[in-house]
């Protein structure tokens, strides 16, 4: 691990100001991803700003019936919150399907959104990787890419975003509230928060340098059955090969509305509005599910060892929709 200096921030604005004052600074919250990457020298901050004491560790009801989740709220606390279990089951299940009990006790809401890809080549500093070292090349495209993306990729990068939590939040239309060093606040829809790699895969999100996540706001829960289905190589404690966060409202054999977000497929939580439009009002049949999967996977391409993700996504989506309708 490279040497660094360390300090604690006392508020979101203070954290942003401290970041502005230090080139090469990083925020550390739970540390479960950052310290892992620092040990490997994938991340080499010269200064760490501890953001565990910003006073943003509460889950609060919003006036419209939603929730505001402080950035420091631990994944385990968020998953166990009675309001989340009652009204946002898809989020609770997504959180509980991620990582291990120990990691969830440390990992935070803000940190989970900002975790980096688990692409093997991103982690292997002896190999080219455009996300880790811009311009060095992508080892994954022609390499071992079983866990990597099939949609939203570019010729520079096929990394996936590893979060389960963010996939559920994408289906729930969460908004991310931030603070900058000058005190300016922003509310970023989660759809616009993570970036596709394009020509700049080293930039994961649309946060500005030093901008701090203060909270995540969930709108009131949408109507319908909530499901999080995660397909992975082990029954527990493994990243998704494919995951689906679904909120499906149905009546008399027809889908009234469906919100579908996917993990394991793309560099960001993947959601295709056209697929949801096609399902709205459609009969709850295998043909409707296939048509929706076609739209979700429009433009999808495998890179060899991850080709299986395309049919796996179709089957997982069909299974989730059938479960939503049939119980």
């Amino acid at each position: 691990m490279k040497a660094f200096t360390y300090e604690r921030a006392t508020s979101a604005k203070d954290a942003a100001a401290k970041a502005a004052a230090h080139k090469g600074a990083k925020f550390v919250a739970g540390g479960t991803n950052l310290l892992d990457l620092m040990k490997l020298e994938v991340e080499t901050p010269t200064h760490l700003i501890d953001v565990n004491h910003l006073g943003l560790d509460k889950i609060e009801d919003t006036p419209d019936g939603g929730l505001r989740i402080g950035t420091q709220v631990r994944n385990s606390d968020l998953a166990a919150d009675p309001r989340v279990r009652q009204r946002y089951g898809v989020l609770s299940r997504a959180l509980l399907s991620g990582a291990s009990g120990q990691l969830r006790n440390k990992a935070t809401t803000g940190g989970n959104l900002l975790q980096r890809t688990r692409c093997y080549y991103f982690y292997d500093t002896t190999k080219p990787c455009n996300k880790r070292e811009p311009g060095s090349g992508c080892s994954a495209i022609d390499g071992y890419n079983r866990i990597l993306a099939v949609v939203g990729t570019s010729s520079k990068c096929i990394a996936t975003h590893p979060s389960d939590m963010a996939v559920a939040m994408r289906a729930l239309d969460a908004t991310i509230e931030t603070v900058s060093s000058d005190g300016e606040t922003r509310a970023i829809p989660i759809a616009d928060f993570h970036r596709l790699p394009g020509a700049t895969p080293q930039i994961d999100t649309n946060l500005r340098p030093g901008e701090v996540i203060a909270s995540v706001v969930l709108p009131p829960p949408p109507p319908g059955v909530q499901i999080y289905r995660k397909v992975r190589d082990r029954a527990s404690y493994a990243f998704a090969l494919v995951s689906v966060a679904a909120v499906v409202d149905h009546e008399d054999g027809r889908i009234r509305s469906a919100r579908l977000a996917f993990g394991g497929l793309a560099p960001k939580p993947w959601r295709v509005p056209d697929a949801e439009t096609a399902l709205a009002g459609a009969p709850a049949t295998a043909a409707s599910y296939r048509a929706a999967a076609d739209l979700v996977l429009q433009g999808a391409r495998g890179y060899g060892s991850n080709d299986f993700k395309i049919p796996l996504t179709r089957r997982t989506l069909a299974s989730v929709l059938a479960q939503a309708v049939e119980g």
Partner: protein, 215 residues
């Protein structure tokens, strides 16, 4: 305690003290104080850290990179917590911080002043075993024993989480308090790897300690 005097790492004592004082000023004064900068040629930044471990307070001067696990093992000589993978994948380093189980390898010692840290050494001793230690003995919940301190600390955390009503991903109804069974224990303990595969006995031990029937 003067365990910090026995630091294994390299910088001269004088350098440690000098930089340590600067870092202390920064932590207490917060915003607006002078900010120490790391450069290639300077000694690694160190800082004073007070850790409360197993009910005892320890004042250490640590390289800022020191993980909680390394502070426990290398500075406080509490070698019960094990370094397996050092990347949060195996769970051998699991300790309890403010009653919650965490991977001590993935957190910095400097991030835990004021926290109540309990390691396997603090759970019990040969004359006064913790009920979870007794259960592991009675059920042969180990073979080589390397993962065992982490398994036991994790299991103690699992019981606290279940008592608090926390669900797991295999809990059928999220709105109900879960009842621990083999399936629940397996899921909740998935962050602790046992290369000897003593899992059936580990599950039995945890269920005994939980006061539940494994049948």
């Amino acid at each position: 305690m003067s365990a910090g005097e026995s630091d294994l790492e390299g910088p001269t004592r004088r350098a440690v003290v000098a930089v340590g004082v600067g870092a202390a000023g920064l932590v207490t004064a917060g915003q607006g104080s002078a900010q120490p900068m790391a450069t290639v040629s300077s000694p690694p930044p160190t800082m004073p850290v007070r850790l409360n471990v197993n009910g005892q307070s320890h004042d250490l001067t640590l390289d800022s990179r020191t993980t909680l696990l390394d502070a426990l093992r290398e500075h406080l000589r509490l070698t019960g917590s094990k370094k397996g993978c050092d990347h949060g994948q195996c769970g051998a380093c699991t300790v309890l911080v403010n009653g919650r189980r965490i991977n001590s390898c993935l957190t910095l010692a400097a991030m835990h002043p004021g926290d109540e840290i309990v390691t396997i050494e603090g759970l019990g001793d040969p004359e006064h075993l913790h009920p979870m230690q007794t259960a592991f003995l009675e059920h042969d919940g180990f073979q080589c024993g390397y993962c065992t301190p982490g398994q036991i600390c994790s299991a103690v955390g699992v019981l606290a989480e279940a008592k608090a009503g926390w669900p797991s991903v295999v809990t059928a109804d999220l709105t109900q308090s879960p009842r621990l069974d083999e399936h629940e224990v397996s899921e909740r303990m998935s962050g602790n790897i046992c290369r000897c595969a003593a899992y059936p006995n580990i599950r039995a031990a945890i269920l005994q300690a939980a006061g539940e029937s494994a049948a």
